[in-house]
Symmetry: C2
Subunit: 387 residues, 2 copies
């Protein structure tokens, strides 16, 4: 494999196609913040502002500034979103709404803890870029809020009757694996160490199931299997994404055996989640083979494939496992031939099972300036280390 | 068209295939209530009990007893579910949960007012079958609860920030069109008349848009258009289903012009919602042609097609409009060749855009003993009146 050329391909796509797409189309010059609902050619089709995506775009431009090049236009782009987020994104106590109108009026209450996670990432990275203590404080305080809320993330918006079937979800420990490294520079060492130890244990010992070799999305509080729609749910992309967070932790903790284990899980999950008939990775599966409740279960989503590319190339870089390269080639070919859009830039997000475009959008309520550029950056940088 | 033979086809499918399927597979002899998560061959794959579907099955068997034949086994089947519902289905104040465990422990809180609607239908119809005042009282009191909650159906579980973008939904007035006739025998005449007048106005003057000829799922409180994901949403099956409720009201109110209007809306919605490439009716569309937020937008669902058959044949019976017959034939052919399962009985529920089976289930969290048998009954009985 020609790592050098490949690295160039990912770098070019990032810097000459994807980043300019968001610079050109997402900035709301009138009310601040970003548009994310963008048609194939970048035209805005809806003006609501979703906090996940506002935070993620601030994070992305801050990251580009911090890690690729200290371009003023990138920092300005990040500050543009941060200003809007800071003013309108939360309820005054750093509980982050789910969505706002174009003008910044709150639409959906702060029921979703991932809004807080992406706000933390955004302000943590922007603090690195600017040294502005105010941003650091927002990130730090929001992170503390997340830890406080982590036992019942939805709070009063939780519709489950307490006690009947308590389950804990994979998403939060998974994202904390990433977040704890993202804002390590803002936290006391002990809190970082404790958090990492806790979430590592959750991901690798509780949600990971040695018998099947798979990660479950929801388990009982004691870690055992719940034979319910939620308990049977497998989200291959989610599990695979988590594994490169684990690989990053393996480097940080100098524990190569963690990366080995993560690679095993990535390969097993890909084998399980790959669509043998039409190619691509399924969105949802039921571990017992029952019909999942998600009607979109067989669709092929951009982030699932991009996150897989990151995990595979990092897995190869850390372990030298050749199977990672074989799978990387396969997923690379599928991804570039199905998601990329050479005509209008950025990538499609939603394909049907056959790999045909299901929604001709480049951004929406859940797809923004995040997985594609982050993935291109991560793969580019990892490929550059390979010979 | 050979109405007599067709009527026989619908009747046979109902009485010799679909009703026996639920009698054979859905009864939980151990804990009461019904299983609804059934595989292609009727095997139970999940044991949770969803109140929508528990209520709908009680209603269906009560209706068969009341309208087709006074078979003791049908009444017993209805009573079997009613007993479970009465004991476990609500919080003590007739606020009906969304779901229960197999044993009857509440899983999901009473956030969903349609649980209450289907409980009302169930106990109203069962009261007709048995004359048991207790059942009548449950239906009546639950109905009053629904009216009280109708301005904010989700109550404290509503995640929308009050005031920012108030919208009202089509579902509740639509279902009240049907419910007010379903339990007319239990209500004071004045309440029935007032309710009918109000919901008729909502459906035909507020949600119906004369410019496009379509019904919107959500509008602003003053009836105007909201240019948002919710405001742009079209659910063709929902609109078409509502039109046979309106046709029933046109008969009850002796207003043939209402049936004329309903037929117009059905034909317009079918023309708009029909998939010209792969046939079948789309699940969701955006009235401005934007990508809908529902990833399942292009799927073909059983209830959409069955409800269309009811509206078309009733439309023909009431107005003689030949276009109804042309469309009936087209939807009939699609439905019977794609949803029916001659091998294992009952019908598939979820097809992809191409009409291939997406989930090989006969029942699940949302599909139970309801749309297929109700539709077969309605079409059969309407066909019998035609010459």
């Amino acid at each position: 494999m020609d790592f050098k050329n490949l690295a160039q391909q990912y770098k070019n796509e990032l810097l000459e196609n994807v980043v300019p797409f968001w610079e050109n189309h997402s900035k709301d010059e009138e009310f601040g913040g970003y548009f994310t609902c963008l048609n194939r050619d970048g035209m805005v089709f809806d003006t609501d502002k979703f906090i996940w995506l506002q935070g993620r775009e601030v994070w992305m431009f801050s990251t580009l500034f911090n890690k690729v090049e200290q371009k003023q236009q990138w920092l300005d782009m990040a500050l543009h979103g941060a200003k809007f987020l800071q003013k309108y994104g939360h309820d005054g106590d750093l509980n982050w709404y789910f969505s706002l109108t174009r003008e910044g009026k709150p639409l959906v209450q702060p029921y979703n803890i991932f809004s807080d996670c992406f706000a933390t990432m955004a302000f943590g990275q922007l603090y690195k870029a600017t040294g502005n203590e105010e941003y650091g404080q927002i990130a730090k305080n929001t992170f503390e809020n997340i830890l406080k809320r982590s036992d019942n993330p939805k709070g009063k918006y939780n519709k489950l009757v307490p006690g009947t079937r308590p389950l804990k979800g994979f998403s939060l420990p998974m994202i904390l694996c990433n977040l704890s490294l993202e804002i390590e520079h803002l936290l006391p060492e002990q809190l970082v160490d404790e958090t990492i130890e806790k979430v590592l244990h959750e991901v690798m010992d509780v949600f990971y199931q040695p018998d099947s070799g798979l990660i479950l999305e929801n388990v009982k509080p004691d870690g055992s299997f719940s034979d319910s729609f939620e308990g049977r749910l497998i989200n291959p992309g989610h599990a695979i994404e988590a594994m490169w967070f684990i690989m990053d932790l393996s480097v940080r903790l100098q524990k190569p055996e963690l990366a080995q284990k993560a690679v095993e899980i990535v390969l097993r999950t890909l084998e399980y989640g790959w669509d043998k008939e039409f190619d691509g990775i399924f969105y949802f599966l039921d571990i017992k083979g029952n019909p999942p409740q998600q009607l979109e279960w067989d669709q092929k989503l951009w982030w699932v494939h991009i996150e897989s590319l990151i995990s595979l190339i990092k897995g190869y870089a850390l372990t030298g496992n050749k199977e990672c390269l074989t799978w990387f080639e396969k997923v690379h070919d599928y991804t570039w031939s199905h998601f990329a859009d050479p005509e209008h830039g950025e990538w499609f997000g939603y394909l049907n099972r056959r790999g045909e475009v299901l929604l001709p959008l480049k951004g929406g309520k859940w797809k923004g300036c995040f997985h594609v550029p982050r993935g291109l950056y991560q793969v580019w940088k990892t490929l550059e280390t390979l010979k």
